[in-house]
């Protein structure tokens, strides 16, 4: 329970779920966010509000989804599920399971989150065609102007460590049609190299490995589902149903140009209908969708709180600019005055103080001053000799 880390601008009395924004037909662009949304919709229907935000730095742990309730916050899917389970007025999704089944549920949720999550991330972030055609434009459309140039690449790079460890990174794409337009633009500078046979076999072999992994996972859960509507024969969707359906929803609703894992999923019709069943249980046809908080009041609230700091900041910049201008003005005017005196010196009458002033004249202000000084000095010496 970390109440001190949350900024007061995010505090409100109701339960607010902050998720990645929608894109095309998906409820949210991240599997964890979709799972959190489905879970809240089933456990607290009509008692929470939704906020789409594309800035994961608003969350104290740096990751979305984020749930705020008053000053309490829960960041990450597992924390949100644990918090909802503890709320006394929420519907308990796993109520009908025995203790052994609940223990098995924890393990199966971890399995789905790691294996199925890796496959979904591989589809979105590793396959080049999907990244260029769907994922990157989606992220760019969600982010504001300075972030949209560097944050999508950072998000992609952050998935690299995990996907490399499970050997799901850097699988080549289906065809290289995406490179054709570039070749035309460059003219005849790039020659079309025919692909060597070994490279082609390696590509297909690696794609087959990924498809094998996906089919092994779907076999396990197809057998677990059997002919029931939800896993373990439950009447309402359990937490495992919610997490599994969230990943399936992302794959089935995003129309990805390279459907490597989606094809494997669509060959299991029971799993596809399971996904639709969970979604229709969470969003019944005549129920209202959760209210969406707009971002505008957040930004205006922030500006109210931070107006004092903004005044100080701009005041400091204006003050320093004023000081610079004033300094330059007075420096130049002193030199101009010296020039005036020097000019008068050149006309007649010498004073030793003026000699010193001429000697101390700045180099840049006065090539003129020095020239006038040089003229003045021999005449002064003459006058001194005459005086003596």
């Amino acid at each position: 329970m970390n109440e001190s880390k949350l900024s007061p601008s995010l505090a409100s009395r109701d339960v607010v779920l902050h998720v990645w924004p929608k894109h095309a037909d998906v409820l949210s662009f991240d599997a964890g966010s979709v799972a959190a949304l489905l879970c809240l919709q089933l456990a607290l229907p009509g008692q929470f509000s939704l906020s789409y935000c594309a800035n994961p730095d608003l969350s104290p742990s740096g990751q979305l989804p984020l749930l705020t309730h008053g000053l309490y916050h829960a960041s990450g899917l597992s924390s949100i599920l644990a918090y909802v389970r503890r709320l006394h007025y929420a519907r308990h999704l796993d109520a009908g399971l025995s203790s052994v089944q609940a223990a098995q549920l924890t393990a199966r949720i971890a399995h789905v989150e790691s294996s199925y999550g890796d496959l979904v991330n591989h589809m979105l972030y590793s396959l080049q065609e999907n990244w260029v055609d769907v994922t990157r434009p989606a992220l760019v459309s969600m982010l504001p102007v300075p972030q949209r140039y560097y944050v999508p690449h950072r998000i992609r790079a952050s998935h690299k460590a995990r996907l490399e460890a499970v050997e799901l990174w850097d699988v080549p794409e289906e065809e290289e049609d995406s490179e054709e337009p570039r070749r035309v633009v460059f003219g005849r500078r790039k020659k079309h190299k025919p692909e060597p046979e070994a490279h082609h076999f390696k590509k297909t072999f690696e794609r087959e490995k990924v498809a094998e992994k996906a089919r092994a996972l779907f076999d396990v859960y197809d057998r677990l589902l059997g002919d029931h509507r939800f896993f373990m024969g439950s009447e309402i969707p359990t937490t495992l149903d919610v997490v599994f359906a969230a990943h399936s929803h992302l794959l089935l609703s995003l129309r990805l140009p390279d459907p490597l894992v989606t094809c494997a999923l669509e060959s299991y019709p029971r799993l596809v209908s399971h996904c639709h069943a969970v979604l229709s249980a969470a969003f019944p046809p005549n129920a209202p969708s959760p209210p969406t908080l707009q971002q505008n009041w957040l930004t205006s609230l922030r500006s109210l709180i931070e107006r004092r700091y903004r005044l100080w900041r701009w005041g400091f910049i204006a003050g320093s600019l004023l000081a610079t201008v004033g300094y330059l003005y007075f420096a130049l005017s002193v030199l101009l005055v010296q020039d005036g005196r020097v000019l008068r010196l050149g006309a007649g009458g010498g004073e030793p103080a003026d000699d010193e002033d001429e000697d101390e004249a700045d180099g840049d202000a006065g090539a003129a001053a020095e020239a006038a000084g040089e003229h003045g000095e021999p005449e002064d010496e003459d006058e001194d000799e005459e005086a003596a």
Partner: protein, 303 residues
């Protein structure tokens, strides 16, 4: 010496080269010679107490030790004087086997064995063991197909949530010399273990380049506690996990993690397991079985 058609150096060049003579020194005999490999030898990280124990302090090595022991092998030698840089793919454990035990070797190769043996990386150990004690059936030793499917889930729970907690609380000893050395230990970092990539230290949209990870320690500890609770619940009073009649790969994995947790320096990790009596008793029973399969063997002989 040379045939009349061979090229020979012209005389001025030969004279020039005579200023730089080539000396050939006799071979230097080292006082230590490697003992020929007669027993399968497992290369592991050093145990917690090297004098009294054969079980490694590293989870990966211990997993494979337990696997070998629970598959029914006995009289396997152990050595821990090999640095991870000398192992295949920079990762211990490796198994050093005499050539005659290799399942795929032809008879001529087996005859030519001069004691050097073959070094196997960790992922080839199950295949070698199948060659020794016979292959596993389709169910891999589990009671039925549902148990086999469930074992996949438990494996990913252990290697995800529990391993993340272990990695988080591992004392990372990075001395100055280890930063300078060109050989890096390829241990699994936290980013490779967590399913969702953690945010960089200053946030993903900061103008500073990404550095470090901002780890959600509370969430990892909470998931670890749930994992241990569900593990204890599932074990109940069974002899082997998931009601199997004989030990399986999942038992080896669970034993390795429990043993490492019970020996870790971190109080919160240890307390979760020591609270659960059935886990502690199970681990103690399996420990004696695993320990009996190994013995320490002096790998170098003084000549």
């Amino acid at each position: 010496m040379a045939s009349p058609l061979a090229l020979s150096l012209p005389a001025p060049l030969r004279q020039f080269f005579s200023f730089f003579p080539l000396y050939t020194h006799p071979p230097i005999d080292s006082p230590e010679k490697a003992r020929p490999v007669t027993l399968p030898t497992l290369w592991i990280h050093v145990p917690w107490s090297p004098d009294a124990d054969v079980l490694s302090s590293d989870v990966e090595c211990l997993k494979w030790q337990a696997y070998l022991a629970l598959r029914g092998l006995s009289d396997v030698a152990i050595r821990w004087d090999v640095s991870p840089d000398g192992a295949l793919d920079n990762r211990l454990p490796n198994l050093h086997v005499p050539l005659e035990t290799l399942p795929g070797a032809s008879p001529e190769v087996k005859e030519q064995d001069d004691g050097e043996g073959e070094l196997l990386p960790a992922h080839l150990i199950p295949e070698w063991v199948d060659g020794q004690v016979g292959p596993l059936d389709d169910l891999e030793g589990y009671a039925d197909e549902a148990a086999r499917d469930e074992s996949r889930a438990w494996v990913s729970l252990l290697e995800g949530n529990v391993h993340a907690a272990l990695v988080l609380h591992q004392p990372s000893s990075t001395s100055f010399l280890s930063l300078l050395s060109p050989y890096q230990n390829k241990t699994r970092t936290l980013e490779a273990v967590l399913p969702n990539p953690p945010a960089p230290l200053f946030g993903i949209s900061s103008l500073l380049p990404s550095y470090g990870t901002h780890v959600n320690v509370d969430a990892i500890e909470q998931q670890y506690k749930d994992a241990i609770a569900s593990l204890s619940e599932r074990l109940g009073t069974d002899k082997w996990f998931l009601g199997s009649s004989s030990p399986t790969a999942l038992d080896a994995l669970v034993f390795a993690y429990l043993h490492c947790i019970l020996h870790s320096k971190e109080h919160t990790l240890r307390f979760e397991v020591t609270r659960r009596v059935n886990l502690v008793a199970w681990e103690r029973r399996v420990q004696s079985q695993v320990r009996g399969a190994f013995r320490i063997v002096e790998a170098l002989q003084q000549s």
